[in-house]
């Protein structure tokens, strides 16, 4: 049936005047979400919204149409509609450049191999784990709210294009986390594990959640939330800053990942997401940060959220250097944007949020590569300053220059040792100056890949699951203060 629907949609889209068309047919687009708060279920939901999205490139522009209706007549209409929109008379006058994909095999399959399928394992086992972790966070009367949650997604999709490409992907993502909210007179503090905003996420099965040891960490999380209530506010000043791997991964996301999306650089997202401080001619010339800064966009990292076989326009997964030795060395690109830049091949970073949304450039796994400092060496090198961990607040301007981040916890660094816990720490800066102050990166033992399930971009908004690897990082002379 899938083959017939794909053929029906593609044939309808490949109308006279259409230069290229492709079809993404999702036979499953599943999501499971379980959350427990204060001993009671908050949300137990399962969804599966299959659908089809058809993209067509006409003489002067794109057309995209999508539907959740799954019969032959509906998918034929969607194909025709994409072609109609692509051939509209009111498009731009110049032809949209688009690179052919010549090097990829014409057919293939990419499949996540979960050891424990999160959708077929017994629900009561998942609930039991979340219940125990949630209960253990209630370490005192100050804990007014404790939540344990898990998410799983599975997309099974077929891709066909007028170039003859035919791919099948079955990708499973899972994640989980716990968060305790402590309350006292006039103060509210929260602590999360393994990361804020839902926890951590990866590609695979429930074994990823088992490895988190949510139950084993729950009491610590509850205690730290309570301790934060009486901790002093973070100090104000310019000082050395050590960022945890989880916070540094978000720093990479906001100030490098989005900034190097080529559609932003070329002003194709100016109306909503924004543009970038980068220009095409900066490649190979612009100093983004210190020589310790090495960043790649790598869609081949095993077990990461931004890993796939082919992107959503048939380009195979690949690893692209983005910043090398502190110098900008590449962009995240698509077949259209790479052609606009004069490149010979797309970086393969195009994805759409499910069947209904038009694929656009998205991050894959944009990773800051580790350096050579052990954790102890890095703190010794910092000597005095502040350590910040686990994001609570993030904001950056629409060219990705001026940023401000807050974290759940801070700890003072005194004589190379972590000492006093401080609350509501904030740091701020400007992207190139901040990355220029990177003076040490942690080694492999401090490096971790963090899944981020809620990256927003596009109009209408698309939410994408991406990932970032990051080690510990030491930055010198950073503006720090505490929210009062």
């Amino acid at each position: 049936m899938s083959e017939e629907l794909l053929e029906e949609a593609l044939t309808a889209a490949a109308a006279p005047g259409i230069r290229f068309a492709d079809v993404r047919l999702f036979v499953h687009y599943r999501m499971e979400y379980l959350s427990l708060r204060n001993g009671t279920p908050e949300n137990f939901s399962f969804g599966d919204e299959p659908g089809i999205g058809v993209r067509a490139l006409g003489p002067h522009g794109w057309g995209f149409a999508s539907t959740t209706h799954f019969d032959r007549a509906a998918v034929r209409e969607v194909g025709k509609e994409a072609a109609r929109l692509a051939r509209r008379p009111s498009g731009p006058t110049s032809e949209i450049p688009f690179l052919p994909e010549k090097d990829s095999p014409r057919a293939g399959e990419y499949r996540t191999a979960p050891r424990i399928d999160p959708f077929s394992m017994p629900l009561e086992e998942k609930v039991a784990l979340l219940s125990e972790a949630e209960a253990r966070m209630h370490v005192g009367p100050e804990i007014k709210s404790a939540r344990a949650e898990m998410s799983a997604w599975q997309e099974e999709k077929y891709y066909r294009s007028t170039e003859g490409a035919s791919y099948h992907s079955s990708i499973t993502h899972v994640g989980a986390g716990i968060v305790a909210q402590a309350l006292s007179e006039g103060e509210s503090q929260r602590r999360s594990y393994p990361n804020s905003f839902g926890g951590n996420f990866g590609q695979g099965g429930f074994e990823i959640i088992h490895a988190m040891d949510l139950v084993g960490q729950a009491e610590r999380v509850g205690r730290e939330a309570v301790e934060l209530l009486s901790a002093p506010t973070a100090p104000e000043g310019t000082m050395n800053l050590v960022l945890s791997s989880d916070q540094l991964s978000l720093q990479v996301h906001e100030s490098v990942g989005h900034a190097t999306e080529l559609d932003r650089v070329l002003a194709y997202e100016a109306g909503f997401a924004g543009t970038s401080f980068l220009q095409p001619e900066h490649v190979g010339k612009l100093r983004y940060g210190s020589p310790l800064m090495n960043i790649v966009a790598d869609a081949t990292v095993p077990g990461a959220m931004g890993t796939f076989g082919w992107d959503d326009e048939g380009t195979p997964a690949q690893s692209t250097p983005i910043v090398t030795g502190g110098i900008l060395s590449g962009f995240l690109s698509s077949r259209e944007m790479a052609a606009r830049l004069g490149s010979s091949r797309s970086g393969g970073t195009v994805r759409g949020d499910g069947p209904l949304r038009m694929p656009i450039i998205r991050m894959t796994n944009v990773n800051l590569l580790p350096g050579d400092h052990s954790r102890e060496e890095l703190f010794r090198e910092a000597k005095n300053g502040i350590y910040m961990e686990t994001n609570v607040s993030w904001s950056i301007d629409d060219k990705r220059l001026n940023f401000q981040f807050g974290t759940e916890v801070g700890r003072l660094i005194e004589n190379g040792e972590l000492t006093q816990l401080v609350r509501n720490p904030i740091y701020s800066g400007m992207t190139p100056e901040f990355w220029g102050s990177l003076s040490a990166t942690g080694d492999e033992s401090t490096y971790h890949v963090w899944g981020l399930p809620n990256c927003g971009k596009g109009q209408p908004t698309q939410v994408m699951r991406v990932a970032h690897g990051a080690p510990l990082g030491l930055f010198r002379g950073v503006r720090v203060r505490g929210a009062k």
């Binding site: 279920p41 731009p92 609930v127 209408p460």
Partner: protein, 462 residues
């Protein structure tokens, strides 16, 4: 002529709701949502990504033994798809821990929902006319100002919502929404200067591209950007900036869930004068300038309710579940029960300010000296309970002196309390603007506001 794509159903009888409820063994409510959207994106002064989207989905919430609840959704409306939907929801309910105090689903008694007008396209050729209007508006800007770049978006949709439950409730709403924005940048200036205009209406014909284009063009300054030291300034906030702050407050501070968790200012602030007594703010899903919705996702008829009554904070928003949990009444603010909505609890999405007295330009004149902020970008909470947010200004920030706009300034980072801004509000504009998102989820109706002593913690380079 190309036929119009699949249109949402016109009556609940055409919906599969009855087929779902027949299969459920416990108590349940079910939503059938049908949406059809056209999106036209504008980038680099061209129509760029025209998108046609049709979504047709069911959302089922089942309660077993009065204490166990499960939720499932599907876009597979075939008999097999519906059987799977019911099976999933019931399986989740069976394996759910018990919850004390789950409510009975409401019956069909009580006031009937308001019958809203729905402005719907009859054919695709009308959409083509709309896109040609947009193209002409872009061409006109390009013709008048060749070094200007235009970006923006137009969204137009029809949303049908059918709700039924095992207590006999059957309700439906059918509404239309259109939303548009235009950004015009003068690239001959370094850094570029820009002008912004936006609007939303239930009636797509009320979105006038010529008018929006002229507004955006008029706001493009003719002088170069200068830097302004961070500090504390009096500020006139444009309606889009107020809408951004309003949505943050709605999502994280005005709903029952955030009060129950302790992260909302309402936990201790209810009944207190927390904002200027000059401000009355309501949640009004039927506001004539907004994007009206006649029922919420529980099927409860919507109505207007005070959020701040002459400055005094009122109670939080409720759905039928939070109302039962807290001993309150629903305020018709129910969201879809499935992720990613269900875990946020009820949220007011149609917050509307009462119009003030100041005419166009009067706020700037009255401010005398300070900053005019058009829009805010990437606003996030720094401290939820104190409503402290941080975010950047965007697309038009200007220095005002002697009651007149002097020149554009580089964008600033505002780190401030939302309640503080509203508490120090001195004057409110009499013109109200609906600033909706692209799928008409949040649709606040807001004025321009003059607020004193607003803190800016840093500045950027453009």
């Amino acid at each position: 002529m190309t036929p119009a794509p699949i249109a949402p159903a016109r009556s609940i009888e055409a919906s599969p709701i009855e087929r779902v409820l027949e299969l459920v063994t416990g108590k349940a409510d079910v939503r059938h949502v049908q949406e059809r959207w056209l999106t036209l994106r504008v980038a680099n002064s061209s129509l760029y990504q025209p998108i046609h989207e049709v979504r047709d989905a069911l959302s089922l919430r089942v309660v077993l033994e009065g204490t166990r609840m499960g939720v499932a959704t599907t876009s597979d409306l075939s008999p097999e798809g519906i059987r799977t939907l019911v099976s999933h929801a019931e399986s989740f309910a069976r394996n759910s821990p018990k919850t004390v105090g789950l409510p009975e689903f409401p019956s069909d008694s009580g006031p009937a929902p308001v019958d809203l007008p729905c402005f719907e396209r009859k054919s695709a050729s009308i959409e083509e006319a709309k896109s040609q209007d947009l193209s002409r508006a872009i061409d006109r800007i390009a013709g008048q100002r060749p070094k200007h770049r235009v970006a923006g978006v137009y969204n137009e949709g029809v949303i049908a919502l059918f709700v039924g439950n095992t207590s006999g409730l059957r309700r439906s709403s059918r509404r239309s929404a259109a939303q548009a924005s235009l950004l015009v940048e003068d690239l001959s200036s370094d850094p570029p200067v820009s002008g912004w205009a936006e609007g939303a209406s239930a009636d797509p014909d009320r979105i006038q591209w010529d008018s929006l284009a002229q507004q955006a063009l008029d706001r493009v300054p003719s002088s170069q950007v200068r830097s302004l030291d961070p500090g504390t300034y009096d500020v006139v906030f444009g309606a889009p900036a107020i809408a951004e702050l309003t949505n943050m407050l709605s999502g994280w501070g005005l709903g029952s869930m955030s009060v129950e968790e302790g992260s909302s200012f309402l936990r201790t602030g209810q009944g207190q004068e927390l904002v200027s007594p000059e401000l009355t703010i309501v949640d009004d899903p039927l506001h004539p300038l907004g994007l009206p919705e006649s029922i919420d996702y529980d099927g409860t008829p919507t109505r207007s309710r005070a959020v701040f009554d002459r400055g005094v904070a009122q109670g939080p928003a409720h759905d039928i579940f939070s109302a039962a949990r807290t001993g309150s009444h629903t305020t018709a603010n129910g969201l879809p029960p499935e992720a990613p909505y269900g875990q946020y609890g009820p949220i007011p999405r149609h917050v509307a300010f009462a119009a003030g007295s100041a005419g166009p330009g009067e706020l700037v004149r009255e401010m005398r000296r300070g900053v005019l902020v058009t829009r805010l970008h990437y606003v996030r909470f720094v401290h939820r309970q104190r409503t402290i947010v941080t975010g950047m200004t965007r697309d038009g920030t200007y220095w005002v002196e002697n009651g007149m706009i002097q020149y554009p300034v580089a964008n600033l980072r505002m780190t401030e309390s939302i309640l503080g801004i509203l508490r120090r509000t001195e004057l409110t504009g009499r013109e109200l603007l609906c600033c909706a998102d692209e799928r008409a989820f949040f649709a606040p109706v807001v004025p321009e506001i003059l607020s004193r002593s607003v803190a800016f913690s840093s500045a950027t380079l453009f």
